[in-house]
């Protein structure tokens, strides 16, 4: 069945993918100053609701996209990991801001050097903080990814990072 999908099921999957990408329930994991830009994106000037992502859920059980917004410290990392594990599949992760992408300008005892050392990340939105336009661009990239996932039945593997960085 999966190897030889009929016309009907592919059309159906496409329709479900279309519905899914326009009904993103996000879990905002906001820890730092990027949260301000996240709020700016969510409010009426940029209006994230145009993309169907206007209703954040404050329970990971009800969310399907986790927005990690702001610096993650080593002390916070197990909490973030637990929230991620509590989300039901299918789930996606957006790294919002350079601190979540790479650690940003922090290079110290406290900060995680990118959340992708801990959990898989689907979309990276760099910037310190990223402009709302950039966030919306990242959101649209995520929507494409959700549609592809549904249409192809395969989820793009997150890019792996080396275990140790040579500096």
């Amino acid at each position: 069945m999966a190897n030889n999908p009929s016309f009907l099921t592919t059309r159906l999957d496409e329709a479900i993918g279309w519905a899914q990408k326009y009904s993103i329930f996000q879990y905002p994991f906001v820890t730092a100053c990027c949260g301000m830009e996240y709020m700016a994106t969510a409010c009426s000037h940029y209006d994230v609701d145009r993309f169907g992502a206007g209703l954040p859920r404050f329970s990971p059980r009800q969310a399907d996209v986790m927005f990690v917004v702001g610096t993650i410290s080593h002390k916070m990392a197990p909490v973030m990991n637990r929230i991620y594990e509590q989300m039901a599949d299918p789930k996606w992760v957006v790294a919002f801001g350079v601190c979540t992408c790479t650690g940003g300008f922090y290079d110290n005892y406290a900060t995680v050097m990118g959340i992708d050392t801990i959990i898989p990340v689907d979309v990276y939105i760099p910037g310190c903080p990223p402009r709302p336009e950039m966030v919306l661009d990242g959101l649209m990239k995520l929507q494409d990814k959700i549609q592809d996932h549904r249409a192809s039945g395969r989820r793009a593997e997150p890019e792996s990072r080396p275990e140790v960085f040579e500096v």
């Binding site: 080593h74 990392a77 197990p78 110290n108 406290a110 995680v112 050097m113």
Partner: protein, 192 residues
Amino acid sequence: MTNSLIDMVTDRFPAAVSTSHAYRGDETVVLRPEFLLEIARFLKEDPALQMNLLVDLTAVDYSTFGKSPAPAFFASSGVAVRPSPLIPDEDPWPGPPAKARFAVVYHFYSTDHKHRLRLVVPVEESKAELDSVTPLWSGADWLEREVWDMYGIRFSGHPNLKRILMYEEFEGYPLRKDYPVDKRQPLIGPVN
């Protein structure tokens, strides 16, 4: 300045004050560690002082002080990095406490008399322990835990002396100058 806070402390405890200085009315007393609790109680309870607010409690690691030139962050912006030489400083800073590696700094304020005083207590690395002032100012609780967490200075008599910012499994004291700046001890995930 007559009848300054420095004089009030020095007259009462001549043996406890090792040095003192003032910069434009901002007064500092450097104490011998064993007198800390006695002087703290005097500062809080004396009617002429009534230091009822502990503004801040922190520590300094002087182990690399003066070994490399200070980076002048504001030099290019035109903001002076030192007090202007045009304004005389009658009672200059005597420098870091000799021999002792650390100094614990207390900032007190009196909401009744509207005056401030800074206490500096040198702490040696081999005996990094001080009396806790938490019984006098309950606000010192978390501040002393932070100093313990970041500098490894113990406070005897503290009700709950454990790490406050870092996690229990963390080894070492990250704000000590000999802690490598890029050393990482992650709780989960790879060392990166």
